[in-house]
């Protein structure tokens, strides 16, 4: 459903796809690769295109006088391999290849794509996208200049060079470890997914940028039984990195955490219902920011005047010690990008500085609308989709308190530790996130465990109720995927331990 529901969400990614057959791997990351006359020859060769073809397609796209056009070429190779019932018995691969053509006419977008990267097919798609405008033809640029980019996810090896047998052995060893952790474990599943995404963006202003975007996700799930009761939980890592990320320590941690997170649910209860203080533990609790403020700061909603934050720039929204950023430049983090899907270099965007709302998250259309520089946040799910302002890694910076001080300050409340998903209504600002596991606090001490509870609040209200922020910021480790208007993109999030003085907890007590 396009644009109908603005209930944007984030969730932990399901078992993904991902092993491949790369014709030619580029060893170092390379947003601006190599030297020579055409630093993009690798990409031009990969897609079977040249500058003359691009010019011809652009001439077609601007046939009716659009203000701007861009071509987004993509080739993604994904592989996954999966263990269930003690054997590595399933594998999947996926290949995606195509080009998306976008024409802008003011704030209006014409979009089409083709999976056939021939001149004839591209021209036909371009003519379709061109229909958003209705003026006289404009000329395509004569020259293209490569955008200078940093590399935030340098890798040494391709997943092509990781043998399937090595993966099979890895999954088998993890499975054995899961069962060694605890006799209550009755089922385990392990999945390993990798993908390598090659993109090239060229626009009618002569801009040209490319990126190699690797992604790894490894996930371990298990079910345990105790006294006729069953519980299920999981632990996962997801990063833009190569196989060297999976050190022996991390491979040991996966089964250990998955089992620990599962068996502790036997002791957990549904918490009481109603408003109470909630402590967000450091790490994936950054889901609070993603929902409470992140989506509402995406500039498309503000340009349209429909976000709860539409009139709040430069207004005080939180305590002085609250600083929140959306950053695409964190090394190897899942939501990082060297370049956005419109060709703008990735940046760190300051959403809230010392409690004051500062900047929206922009794509090309909104940056132009507001007369500001793009923030490198124009992202899309694939060549089949047009870009929109999207988050990358959203987190709060460290504050003046400690976790112990925060807990000691709570008479009765909960600590939220593990999450599965969240959602927001942009206009009123109401948002939720689901706490898979956490703890109960009574009289300043942790006294028990809680599980399976939804938390619901209002973005601006909750920001104003962040009364303590600790100095222990951590990024989420798992594979978060954000959905908006039917498009999914990988993101991450982070938070130091934070106290929200009051929010509604959906318990049953």
């Amino acid at each position: 459903m396009v644009q109908m529901s603005r209930r944007d969400f984030v969730k932990i990614t399901g078992t993904g796809l991902a092993l491949a057959t790369l014709p030619g791997f580029i060893r170092s990351g390379f947003a601006g690769v190599g030297a020579g006359d055409n630093p993009y020859s690798f990409y031009f060769q990969r897609f079977g295109i040249d500058k003359d073809m691009i010019r011809k397609v652009m001439a077609e796209a601007l046939h009716y006088g659009g203000d701007y056009c861009d071509l987004f070429f993509q080739n993604e190779l994904s592989n996954s391999i999966r263990l269930q019932d003690n054997i590595v018995n399933s594998a999947s691969t996926n290949i995606t290849l195509g080009v998306g053509i976008r024409v802008l006419n003011g704030n209006q977008t014409g979009y089409s794509f083709t999976e056939d990267i021939s001149l004839a097919s591209m021209k036909a798609a371009a003519r379709t996208a061109a229909g958003i405008a209705s003026g006289s033809a404009k000329a395509a640029p004569q020259t293209f200049n490569a955008t200078k980019l940093m590399n935030y996810y340098e890798t040494k090896t391709s997943y092509e060079d990781v043998g399937v047998k090595d993966k099979v052995d890895m999954l088998q060893a993890i499975n054995d470890d899961v069962f060694k952790q605890d006799p209550r474990v009755v089922k385990a599943s392990v999945s390993f997914s990798d993908s390598e995404n090659y993109i090239l963006v060229v626009n009618s202003e002569g801009g040209l940028a490319s990126d190699y975007q690797p992604m790894l996700r490894i996930s371990v799930g298990c079910t345990a039984e105790e006294d006729g009761k069953r519980e299920n939980n999981y632990f996962d890592f997801s990063v833009r990195d190569d196989i060297s990320f999976l050190t022996p320590e991390r491979l040991k941690r996966l089964p250990r955490e998955a089992v620990a997170r599962t068996v502790k649910l036997f002791e957990a209860q549904s918490p009481p219902a109603g408003e109470m203080p909630v402590v967000l533990a450091a790490g994936s609790s950054g889901i609070l920011l993603h929902e409470a403020i992140g989506h509402g700061m995406e500039a498309d909603f503000n340009r349209q005047g429909i976000s709860v934050f539409s009139d709040m720039i430069n207004k005080k929204v939180a305590e002085d010690f609250v600083t929140i950023v959306d950053n695409g430049t964190n090394p190897h983090i899942r939501g990082s990008i060297n370049v956005d899907d419109e060709g703008h270099p990735s940046t760190e965007t300051l959403l809230v500085e010392d409690g004051v709302l500062r900047s929206y998250i922009h794509d090309r259309i909104s940056a132009k609308h507001y007369g500001v520089d793009p923030t490198g946040s124009g992202r899309r799910e694939s060549f089949k989709h047009y870009p929109m302002p999207r988050m990358r890694n959203t987190y709060m910076k460290n504050g003046p308190h400690t976790f112990e001080e925060i807990i000691a300050n709570v008479k009765y409340g909960i600590v939220a530790e593990q999450f599965t998903n969240g959602q927001v209504n942009i206009g009123p600002g109401d948002f939720t996130f689901y706490v898979k596991a956490g703890s109960l606090i009574e009289n300043g001490k942790i006294t028990g465990l809680i599980k399976d509870v939804n938390i619901i609040g209002n973005g601006p209200e909750v920001l104003s109720r962040v009364t303590m922020v600790a100095n222990d910021m951590e990024m989420a480790e798992g594979g978060w995927t954000c959905g908006k208007n039917g498009q999914s993109v990988p993101v991450s999030m982070g938070l130091p331990s934070v106290l929200v003085s009051s929010i509604t907890v959906g318990g049953r007590g």
Partner: protein
């Protein structure tokens, strides 16, 4: 590509897979064209046209299994793709349960013409699409001075699929889908900008609910949200709007699947034949509804689609059993997932039921939340109305509803006679007693 070209390509892929060493294979070739037109405040916001194709193939070789997809259907690319896919498969562990369906299960498809393809689709012009999208929004001009923005859209698609399995299954389907909808933002109190929407989907263009009705419902649903607040936590009946009931029921599909049962992740495991809900809980999976949004002749495994009771008077009758997990559990496969869900209707309309309730919460919107399929626990964000003495007395939001499906299904105390036919989950108004709502 023409239809027979896809079929020919399917045969070619099947043959190639066999030559490369696959003892069995199953594949589908899909082709679709879709157009979307979005308007905002009287102006085109986006126009998008897409034509796409893909191959999905499952390979069975020497007891090993893998599946693969690609959108690059050039034969030279496919040859390399299949070669790599077979190489990969060779590294996996043998799994005796991986095999194609028993061909006997391919027999007995619905005989009726399901009429899932609207042949007039090809005649819709670009201008008509734009006119339709624009008209939806235009109905709301001047209707409420608090309107900040109105977005409206018209979306249509035409899809074709050919499905082949090497032990004799051949299926072909052609479907169309039309959707239109409106979303509205209003200026509420302070910085709040309540939003609401309504959209309708149908297989045939002429079956779409009228544009004016759609737009006016969207506005009314947004106006309902102005001034919404949470109220104190309380346990009371939950009145579930018919258009919104699937939000509670789709979460049962996971626990009802053979995969969840076999993996010990379902609170409904080992309970077939047991009473798990009240006498009013009668739900049937019905694949053969003419023009139904979930209708089908066969599923992804090629299994012939058949009417299947899921719950009868509260008793759990069947799990959704695909071929692989059916093999693992020793059960006969029936269907890999739901088609259309039909709930046995009651006597009264939603309005009559609402008017009869002394105190309840009417749920009109869900916001996030989740369920634990292993235990049945759930906790979901809701918005709607507080009902007192049969009247909507206060718009509520920012509340949670929490409980366990075992209790919830037992506490189903009334079912309406108003199934929502604009979804594959044709749920009527429902009332559940003793539900825990949390607010202030």
């Amino acid at each position: 590509m023409e239809k027979n070209v896809y079929l020919d390509l399917g045969y070619w892929v099947q043959k190639k897979a066999r030559q490369l060493g696959a003892s069995q294979s199953a594949l589908s070739l899909n082709h679709s064209r879709s157009v979307s037109v979005d308007y905002r405040d009287g102006k085109v916001e986006t126009l998008k046209e897409s034509t796409q194709q893909s191959l999905w193939i499952e390979l069975f070789a020497g007891g090993r299994y893998s599946n693969h997809s690609t959108n690059d259907l050039r034969k030279e690319s496919l040859e390399k793709f299949l070669t790599n896919a077979m190489d990969l498969t060779g590294y996996l562990t043998k799994d005796e349960y991986r095999r194609l369906a028993d061909p006997a299960l391919y027999e007995g498809q619905p005989k009726v013409d399901l009429d899932l393809n609207d042949s007039s689709h090809a005649d819709i012009t670009a201008e008509e699409r734009q006119d339709r999208a624009k008209a939806l929004g235009a109905y709301l001009e001047g209707q409420d001075e608090r309107i900040i923005s109105v977005a409206s859209g018209f979306y249509d698609s035409h899809s074709e699929s050919h499905q082949l399995a090497s032990n004799g299954f051949e299926g072909q389907k052609e479907t169309t889908s039309f959707t239109h909808g409106v979303s509205v933002s209003l200026q509420g109190a302070g910085d709040k900008k309540p939003e609401g929407w309504r959209y309708y989907r149908a297989r045939h263009l002429n079956d779409l609910v009228g544009a004016e009705q759609t737009a006016k419902e969207a506005l009314a649903r947004t106006q309902d949200r102005v001034g919404a607040e949470k109220i104190a936590s309380e346990t009371m009946p939950l009145l579930l709007e018919n258009s919104n009931a699937s939000g509670l029921f789709w979460r049962l599909m996971g626990p009802l699947s053979a995969a969840s049962i076999q993996q010990k992740n379902s609170f409904l495991a080992d309970r077939k034949g047991e009473k798990v809900g009240s006498n009013l809980l009668t739900i049937t999976d019905e694949p053969a509804i003419v023009r139904g949004l979930g209708s089908r002749y066969y599923d992804g495994d090629g299994l012939a689609a058949k009417t299947m009771p899921i719950f009868t008077n509260g008793v759990l009758n069947n799990y959704y059993t695909d071929v692989y997990y059916g093999n693992k559990l020793g059960w006969t496969p029936n269907a890999g997932g739901s088609s259309n869900l039909i709930v046995k209707p009651g006597m009264r309309s939603g309005a009559e039921i609402e008017a009869s309730l002394d105190r309840a919460i009417l749920v009109t919107n869900w916001l996030g939340g989740n369920a634990n399929g292993t235990t049945g626990d759930f906790s979901l964000g809701v918005a709607g109305w507080l009902i007192e003495n049969g009247k909507r007395v206060k718009s509520i939001t920012e509340m949670n509803v929490s409980g366990n499906y075992n209790d919830l299904l037992m506490n189903l105390i009334e079912v309406g006679n108003d199934p929502w036919i604009h979804s594959s989950f044709r749920t009527p108004t429902m009332v559940f007693d003793k539900v825990s709502f949390s607010g202030t």
